[in-house]
Symmetry: C2
Subunit: 150 residues, 2 copies
Amino acid sequence: MDQIDRWIVRALQKDGRMTVTELADKVGLSPTPCARRLERLQRDGVITGYSATVDPAKLGLSVSIFVSVELEKQDRAAVDAFEQAIRRCEEVMECYLMTGSRDILLRVVAADLTAFDAFLENRLMKIPGIRNLRSNFALRTMVRRDTLPA
Amino acid sequence: MDQIDRWIVRALQKDGRMTVTELADKVGLSPTPCARRLERLQRDGVITGYSATVDPAKLGLSVSIFVSVELEKQDRAAVDAFEQAIRRCEEVMECYLMTGSRDILLRVVAADLTAFDAFLENRLMKIPGIRNLRSNFALRTMVRRDTLPA
DNA sequence: GGTGAAAACAGATGCAT
DNA sequence: ATGCATCTGTTTTCACC
């Protein structure tokens, strides 16, 4: 991972559909070594995929809700089981294991509060081992960035 | 936005580098109307861009920290000013205006706790109008999804 | 890492349905 | 609004320096 690799990663985060030719031009390399580097970055798991960025509101998913989950047990097995279960919930866009009381933090997207309520009742609360939940609603997304700092 | 449009959006979230030809094949359309639909989806702001998905750890950015910010004033002007300032912080990957006490929630990425401390001191706390901060650390990212639910 | 070739492919256009 | 066929331009890939 030298400076050129970082540049490639940065450029492809800004425009994931850029061709290798354009990319090579942008980083000051000829297409061949640029393609070789890109291949290596993908193979090494630095770049794990490519995705279209979509406006959730345009899909009718205008609310984000952060849910703090406290598990009854906080050992490895309990956390693993929860992870497997939460992975199947498509509404959960992000899930973090937090420090402190080993809380788990979710960001959930939903069409509206009714839909979120349905998610809580039918999906989240069906997962065993949850001691309690606390939901916090986002009024608005102020910033969303998909390019990591240099 | 009919069913085919949703399918296009879904497919491009899963693979943002898919060509129009592949996409057309996948949604059961010929390339021409498929390209037209894609153009429209981009023009209407449903698809706002394309991005490579990068493993932050491979770039040495292994920690995510959630920071709750409470502003001194909570009026429109104060929130706007904060938004302008926070937009310039590359470490801030997400920023939400929350309900309740009109708290603001940030997700910040950093190399380690030292780097995060530097961010707090030199960047975040330089922004005027902040009453207090509360940081919560993520031990681990359990789930990250970039495809919105169908 | 660079160069040049060839082959493959995608994207655009025009017209018909 | 979709589909088909063609055409043009570009990209990717290869062998080799």
